[in-house]
Each structure stands twice: as C-alpha cells, then as structure tokens.
Amino acid sequence: MCGIVGLFLKDSALEPQLGELLTAMLITMTDRGPDSAGIAIYGDETPGKMKLTVQSDTPETTFAGLDAALGKAMGTSVVMSVKSTHAVLTIPAGSLAASRAALAEIDPGIRVMSRGETLEIYKEVGLPKDVAARFDIAKMSGTHGIGHTRMATESAVTTMGAHPFNTGDDQCLVHNGSLSNHNSLRRKLRREGIHIETENDTEVGAAYLTWQMENGASLGEALQSSLDDLDGFFTFVVGTKDGFGVVRDPIACKPAVMAETDQYVAFGSEYRALVDLPGIENARVWEPEPATVYFWSHDKAPTSKKAA
C-alpha cells in the first residue's frame, strides 16, 4: 500500500498553515503504511545560501559543534538548526560537494536527507503522528509540501528507505507502488554520474527524473518520459522549487484523488486525506487519469498532458 499526500498552495495566506494541514492529511493515511513516514516542506530561502538537511542516529553527540566544525572545514560560516535527529545546515550556494565531503570526514554516520534552496525533508521510522510530532512539522510554514507513510516492499525499513527521496537540488518524490527495473536503471544512472544513496526502488525513480531534468527536460517532460522508461506500478507525487506534479502508471491500480480550489491543489491516496481541507465541499475533486502528467507551478501555467 503506502499513503501519499501533497499540498500545493496558490493562496499565500495559507502558507503559515502548510505544515499543520499536511500533517493532518498524512496522519489520516497512517493505516496505509505504518513503517516509516516523511514530509518535505518548501519553505524560506536565504539568498546566496542553500540548505542541507542531515540526519544522525546519535544527534546529541554528532550535532554538538557540527556547525563550527563544518564552517572551519569549509572556511565559511554555517548556520545550524537542530530538530530531533535532523539538522538543517545553511551553507553557501554551490558548496554541496565540498560540504558532503567535509561531513563524511567529520562523521561518516551523518546522512543527507535533502538539499536545496527552500526544501527540507524530515523522515524517520515510525508512525506519521510520531514522526510529525518529533520534528514539529505542524508549526512549519511553506509554499508546498508532500508527505508519505510507508508499507515497505522493495527495501529495508530504515530512515534512508523512508520517503520522500531527494536526488537533485530542491527535487523530491514520493511513491506508492513498486518498480521492477530499478536495479538496471540504478546502474545506468550511476554511470551517468547521478548520486544514488540506497538500494530502494523509489530513489531510482527520483534519480531518473533528476537525470532527465539535468539533461534539459522540464518536470512535466521528465514525468512524461518516466511512463516509457520505468517498469512497475507507480503513483508519483513530485516537488520542485516552484512546482508540484503527479503521474500514475498506465495500469493505475495505485489509488489517487485530487482536489483543486482557488486556494490550493491537493493530492491524497484516498479522499479521506482531503476531508478537512478548507473549502473541500466546493472543491473540484477528481481521480487523475492513468498515464497522464499533471503539473502545477508557481511560475508557469498549469499543465495536464496525456500520453500519446
């Protein structure tokens, strides 16, 4: 199974409530998957900086003085904000590779959850309510976000196996389903220089989209080509810095419901996840079509493209 939720705000007045709305949506989906939970939030940005969200199983010791140690290694100042097992490190834009290398040197137990200008990903083993409470997600504001609660099939129940997966700057993806050609595709993408951390099938799906976009595709185009190149079952919800997309495989046996009002576009594995959203009574509610790419952007007009 697995449960997916997503919320893309059109009305900035709702931004302070993003974390709260998304948390409630995800908790409703708990019985679709109790193994691990994660939420990606697109929040504030600082010009000239990027955010690296990292995780440690021993946060008290690992995060003590990590900002100073990383700053020293990089010859710059690093701002750190710790939340339970995660810490958001604000580093100079363009210093991702150097930061990764420095962090591996400082403590090999540090895992990178996400990187980007506005994206932060929080994910752990456990139920959505516990994971959301641990990171105080309900207090977070932002422009859009996606969440996932996992019933594991293709890889171990670990923090690294939890969704959302981030494989490129400000990109993230959640998945309901299972991919069957992920091993061969992972080898191909690694040869192409794409950084893939785990043996999880979904991370390969995310990395595939990253690879497509690095080669000039828009998110909509990358999703379109995923229909040809990914083998298996999938309902994907993806986020980019300014956009939010949905695609289902042609068989479309993994459920999906969407709702749109003047204030937001929302996604849920089931309608139950959407019932408490403001104005849902008058929202346009529909089931996304199989093999059809849906995409919304803060910067561009919305698109919905059917596979030929």
Binding site: C253, Y271, R272, P290
Partner: protein, 227 residues
C-alpha cells in the same frame, strides 16, 4: 427517517445497526451523515431498507449488498458494491476503480463517471453509468449488463464471457475476444428496461452492443498469443 452520525458512533456500530434490520423492519429509511470518505460503509446489508450516505465514501461502500438500496450523495471510492448480490446502489458523483467487481445481481447506477476496471469479473450485476468508464472495464465479465452512456476506455470487455456491454459513445479499444455485435430488438428491450430502472433518459437505439467473440472459451494453440 433514522439518522446516524458516522463520526459519532463509528463504522462498526453503524454497520451493526444496519445489519440488525430484519425483512419486516418498519425502520426502512436511514441516513448516514459525516461519512468523510470512510471505508466499508453499509457493507453486507441484507434487508429491504434504503440507506442514504450524505457525502463521499471510501473503499467498498455497500459491498456484498442484498436487497437494500444504498444512495451515495457524493463520489464513491475503490471497490464500491463489490460482490453485490441484489438490491440497488446509486452514486450521485463519480465512482473509483473496480466498481461492482464480481457482482452477482442487483443494479448499480453512476450519475457521473466510473473509473478503470468497472464491472470487472461481473457475474450477473447490471451497471448503468451516465458518464464514461475507464480502461479494462468488464474484464472477464461473465454475465450481466454494463451500460455506458458516455465513452469506454481501453480494452473494454477483455476476455469476457456472456456479459453484454452497451456503449453510446466511443470505445477507445476492445479487449481480447470482445467484438461489436448486432443490436436486435430483444437487446433494445433489455437496454430500455435498464435505462428506465436507472432513471436515465437516453435513447436505446443510439447505443452499440459489444460482447464475446467466443474464440477464447477453449484452448486453441492458434490463440496462444492472445491468452
């Protein structure tokens, strides 16, 4: 009219209350408020009662229904009316995938559209959809009728047996061993009866009938590619 607030008494208590109604109950009209997309609402009913759900429902609403009429004043989730035996289900909005799967009897009416696999493995149920149906509808349909006033998606009636399909609009593609058939007077009669029972105003002569070409009934090595 008896009213049940689902959020107040919960699903089990709601269904227990409805199951307690016998054939001669005088509480024949029920209303369920605050369904909030919950699963398995009004499942397993077996009494001549009418239940109206005021809102959208989740998985398997009115599954295994016998005798009862269940109205859904909203959209219905996956597997609605699964294995219906008799009675009637009326969905005012859209229906999600595998509506009426394996249904043996009774009638399901959808005022909106139905999604993929509508009527999969139908075994006698009648399904009337005012809008369109998705791909793989009536897959392995054995008996009963699927009426589509709009269009049908890919692979309609794949590997079907003796179920009948009436489509007014276009069929994106026919499934293996499903073919277009002649609309004879008896079919017009059947279709007219179904549309009347569903309360849908449509001219039966505008529909095309589809059904099994009966080439896949028995194994034939020349058909190996189609199995």
């Amino acid at each position: 009219m008896q009213t049940i607030d689902l959020t107040e008494i919960g699903l089990r208590e709601t269904n227990k209350t409805l199951h307690a109604q016998s054939a001669d109950t005088n509480q024949t009209a029920w209303e369920i408020v605050n369904p909030r997309g919950s699963h398995a609402i009004a499942c397993g009913l077996d009494a001549p009662i009418e239940v109206t759900v005021k809102g959208s429902t989740g998985y398997y609403c009115a599954g295994m229904n016998q005798q009862a009429t269940v109205n859904i004043h909203g959209s219905a989730g996956p597997g609605t009316g699964e294995n219906i035996m008799s009675g009637k289900i009326v969905i005012e909005g859209d229906a999600s995938q595998y509506l009426g799967a394996t249904g043996h009897g009774g009638l399901i009416v959808v005022k909106g559209n139905a999604s993929s696999r509508c009527g999969i493995s139908m075994k006698g149920v009648n399904i009337v959809v005012q809008g369109s149906v998705g791909h793989m509808s009536a897959f392995m349909g054995q008996s009963g009728n699927l009426v589509v006033c709009g269009d049908a998606g890919d692979a309609l009636g794949d590997s079907c047996y003796e179920a009948r399909f009436f489509v007014r609009g276009t069929v994106k593609s026919l499934g293996a061993d499903c073919e277009k058939k002649e609309m004879r007077p008896e079919h017009i009669e059947i279709l007219k009866g179904l549309l009347d029972e569903a309360g849908i105003d449509a001219n039966p002569s505008e529909f095309t009938r589809y059904g099994s070409a009966r080439n896949l009934y028995n194994f034939d090595v020349d058909n190996a590619g189609a199995y």
